[in-house]
């Protein structure tokens, strides 16, 4: 199969899909696209089904030369993109002919861009998913969790679509400003002192540079956390408070079990906003009910045909 040849891989470009399901009882992390909202739009623009494998490009700086006439879609972080010197609009689909080079510069806002190909990029699934999990050594183009390298071929099929298309602008998010992230409280929240919970919601937090695909670490006035003795299953969006009082929000590459007390969970649709926030970004939190979060999430899944 033909595809896109990697001339410049960028600092961390990973093949991702909807993640590895059904293996958490053996300790396997789910992984998947960190910003599921931008990833869903990239696939949707091309008519690809939910979870079709695409490229998650952290920070940008990628160059790809096509060896096939195909169509691509680019969403997520705002970065300069061009084909043979012709600038491309963000959040849109466009053709790339054999021999042409797609250039992506560094992100101006947001952290991760998503590049999808009509029909998807092809790679062998490991435990049911192509998602690259670097820590565990699964998935990706090489099957061992590796990131994109110079000379790699991103296999994709020839495709023809009738015309260019963009995501309607009201649906294109801005990744600038201080995000207000919604939290479903629960877990060990009842064990926290009332003023500690208040402090979590009232103070501004900063995103630590130590954040990665496993977890987003917050920095602020430390919280006093209760202690928990027995490890239990943990999920994406869980807000753990370790003994140092600086919360960690679990992201796509999270471990399957954890022992730190949990204060609540980020609204799944805001987790994707968090993934686009850079180090030192200020973030704030506000409570949301579980039923409101579910209603909104169901609508989102229905729209994208999950």
């Amino acid at each position: 199969m033909s595809g896109l040849r990697v001339l410049k891989p960028g600092p961390l470009s990973l093949l991702q899909d909807a993640g590895r399901r059904g293996w958490q009882h053996l300790g396997v992390s789910p992984s998947g696209a960190l910003d599921g909202h931008a990833a869903a739009w990239a696939n949707h623009l091309l008519g690809n089904p939910w979870g079709t494998p695409l490229l998650e490009i952290a920070l940008g700086d990628v160059q790809l030369r096509s060896e096939v006439d195909t169509w691509l879609a680019l969403t997520g972080a705002d970065l300069p993109a061009s084909i043979e010197g012709q600038p491309l609009p963000g959040w849109s689909r466009f053709p790339l002919r054999a021999g042409q080079c797609l250039r992506l510069g560094f992100a101006r806002s947001g952290q991760r861009a998503y590049l999808a190909a009509a029909g998807g990029f092809q790679a062998a699934a490991v435990l049911g998913s192509v998602s690259a999990q670097s820590r565990e050594g699964f998935g990706g183009l090489d099957g061992q969790g590796g990131k994109l390298r110079v000379g790699d071929l991103l296999p994709c099929a020839a495709a023809h679509l009738p015309r260019a298309a963009s995501v309607p602008w009201p649906y294109q998010p801005s990744y600038r400003g201080t995000p207000l992230l919604r939290v479903i409280t629960g877990g060990d929240a009842v064990e926290f002192a009332e003023e500690q919970l208040q402090a979590f919601f009232e103070q501004g937090w900063q995103l630590s540079p130590q954040s990665d695909r496993m977890g987003a670490r917050l920095q602020g006035e430390p919280l006093q956390a209760p202690s928990r003795q027995w490890s239990l299953g943990v999920n994406r969006g869980a807000i753990q408070v370790p003994p140092d009082g600086q919360p960690i929000i679990l992201q796509a590459d999270h471990q399957t079990m954890g022992g730190y007390p949990i204060l609540g969970w980020l609204h799944p649709l805001d987790l994707w906003r968090l993934a686009q926030s850079p180090a030192q970004q200020a973030v704030r939190f506000t409570p949301v009910s579980v039923s409101d979060a579910q209603a909104e999430l169901r609508e989102f899944y229905r729209f994208f045909g999950r």
Partner: protein, 225 residues
């Protein structure tokens, strides 16, 4: 006292006891099997912990209220069932007791190195939980004379195959990773291989016994240190 509570928008946490006991891992494994058999189509993942089950569900097909209602008869049946006497599969795992912390463990426990090895290898363990990393099985219970708190500063690199102890638990690290447990030995066997079915040989409720081997047997079995 059993508790059922939402764990975010797409998961339900089932807490079955305040603390684990000797039978709980196996009872939990039975319950997980029953849940998988009856409600598996609604779930995306099911993670048993020491005292709990986390049910990751498909929000397009169910939610925590619906799931809790469906779980109730299943839980009633599980509570009414007498404890199954199935012994669980026994795994005999070879260990070269030559971990970096062995002398330190012996000193801290006021035992000789030979006594540490004897106490560790004469105990039969149960798989109490699997998690943290692929194939990482928490085994209990470690002999009380070997119970030590975790290291004050975790190592940044624990080699793959390391047998380690902490509190009343023991485990083999399937992959190289950071870790705060005390290193007791090395195992030549691999505990997670995506090419095998199932990829992880140890299952919840299984029994484990460690067999002391020497360096040459360790290397002959493909072990590396």
């Amino acid at each position: 006292m059993i508790r059922l509570e939402p764990a975010g928008a797409e998961a339900l946490l089932l807490v079955l006891a305040d603390r684990p006991d000797a039978q709980l891992p196996q009872r939990l494994a039975q319950l997980a099997e029953a849940v998988r058999a009856e409600l598996g189509e609604l779930l995306t993942d099911l993670v048993p912990g020491w005292t709990s089950l986390l049910l990751h569900y498909d929000l397009c097909r169910t939610d925590h209220l619906d799931l809790a209602a469906r779980l109730t008869p299943l839980l009633e049946r599980w509570l009414a069932e007498p404890l199954s006497v199935q012994p669980g599969h026994l795994h005999e795992i070879p260990i070269w007791y030559a971990g970096a912390d062995l002398p330190e463990i012996a000193t801290a426990c006021d035992l000789s190195v030979a006594q540490v090895i004897e106490l560790h290898s004469s105990t039969e363990y149960r798989v109490g939980a699997i998690g943290f990393a692929p194939g990482f099985a928490y085994l209990g219970e470690l002999h009380e004379r070997l119970a030590l708190p975790r290291r004050a500063t975790p190592r940044t690199h624990v080699p793959a195959g390391s047998l380690a102890i902490a509190e009343r638990q023991t485990a083999v690290y399937p992959q190289a990773s950071p870790g705060g447990w005390h290193l007791l030995g090395l195992c030549p066997q691999s505990f997670f291989d995506v090419r095998r079915t199932p990829p992880c040989p140890l299952l919840l409720g299984d029994r484990v016994r460690f067999l002391p081997i020497g360096e040459s047997a360790f290397r002959a079995a493909g072990g590396r240190s």
